[in-house]
Amino acid sequence: MKRALAVCLFALIVAAAVPASASIFVAMDRAELVAASQAVVVGQVVGARSFWNEDATAILTEAVVRVDETVAGAAPRFVTVRTFGGTVGSLRIEAHGFPTFREGQRMVLFLDGVGAIAEVVGYQQGQYRIVTRASDGIDVAVPSVDGGATLVRMDGSRAERPRAMALSALVESIRTAAGESRTLQNRQVDR
């Protein structure tokens, strides 16, 4: 009975949840994200600052992420990651559907350009926030993809949004995808 009630209540909450804004992105599955990334890391934001770009045409935010674990590829101990949007003085630029960073946040990041200023691959699709579940202490990876992003497939069909999962399961699936990606690349080189 309690279970049935919980299911109905959950369905009501889902039915009431409506996304709320702006940009359009081609959906990338996990294998595509891994293949497009130089490194996939688990880390913590240790600092973030927003500033105008040189041309004063956009506000950018750079976050310094301490890498606690490199899941795929290679990354230095600290990575600087850049994204669009942020607040400078009284002016706030919301770049909807783009990754955001706050000091102290733990996250899984699919990164490109780790040798210099890195970017998150696939925008919000390449960012999961890590939340420790109070009931059992398990780390859960929560996708950053929110109502600000519309995901599409190239055939025009609507893409499924990524779902939260145990951090250990996400890490395992990334390692599997990275292994398959490497195998595929080796086969292509062999030819």
Partner: protein, 256 residues
């Protein structure tokens, strides 16, 4: 008893879904409007993948100003014209629709991005938009209704930009399938270029009949002198609103 409770909850769920699909427009939070009808500058260079006469410039201007779209819902809610992008900048107060991406923000998997964070609070508690800008990714194939070679796995620039301009005007995503502000795009489907009842209701909730009362300066207090929050302003409880009616979900409630 157990089955009755489940039936009641199932009925409540069904009613929620039906109600949600009947009218579900969503305003950006906090609700915000332009003081005066925005004049959107459309990139006069056009989109390189579009093979109509001017790279989709005329088609885009025509689509976003059409009476089949936002101006049909609220007469005169926006104007648009082709122009140069040489002074393109975020936050400068000039809304622009750029067919390229001078700030290199929308690349890779990004098709189009709208920057809509420029707003501030008016003295009456409502919020004014003072800028919004759109960029598009030229790496993908775009088309228009007037392209001579038709559509093949391409995205209609008209439909996508009418959707993005909905955000520029202050609308969020709806859950009404088929509405322009529904968060889904299909290749070779230009349906979003024509607004639906849900879109129009959303725009009318923001701009009423299109009189733009803040254009040329903030209006005097209404007769009777309500100095509480006006319709559309963010609120947390009924006593904050002139109407005495603060509605919506926690965190995104507005005066009705």
């Amino acid at each position: 008893m157990r089955h009755t409770a489940i039936r009641v909850l199932a009925l409540a769920l069904f009613a929620t879904l039906v109600a949600g699909s009947a009218s579900a427009f969503v305003l950006l939070s906090p609700a915000r409007t332009w003081d005066c009808a925005p004049n959107i500058i459309v990139d006069n260079r056009g989109q390189s993948s579009i093979t109509d006469s001017d790279g989709g410039v005329s088609a885009t201007v025509s689509a976003i100003t059409s009476n089949q779209a936002w101006n049909g819902a609220v007469n005169g809610v926006l104007t648009a014209q082709a122009g140069s992008m040489s002074s393109y900048a975020l936050g400068d107060g000039v809304p622009m629709l750029n067919f390229q991406d001078p700030i290199n923000a929308c690349k890779g998997s990004c098709l189009a991005a709208t920057f809509i964070g420029y707003y501030e609070q008016r003295s009456d508690g409502s919020y004014r938009i003072f800028d919004a800008d759109i960029v598009t990714n030229g790496r993908y194939s775009w088309t228009t209704q007037s392209e001579p070679d038709g559509c093949s796995s391409e995205f209609y620039i008209e439909g996508v930009q009418v959707h993005e301009v909905g955000h520029v005007l202050g609308l969020g995503h709806t859950n009404v399938t088929g509405a322009t502000m529904y968060p889904s795009v299909s290749s070779c489907n230009n349906g979003p270029a024509t607004t639906e009842n849900d879109d129009e209701a959303g725009l009318q909730a923001l701009y009423g009949n299109g009189s733009f009362p803040y254009c040329g300066g903030e209006p005097p207090p209404p007769p009777g002198g309500c100095d509480l929050l006006p319709s559309g302003a963010s609120c947390t409880e009924n006593s904050e609103c002139c109407s005495g009616n603060c509605k919506g979900r926690p965190g995104s409630r507005t005066c009705k």
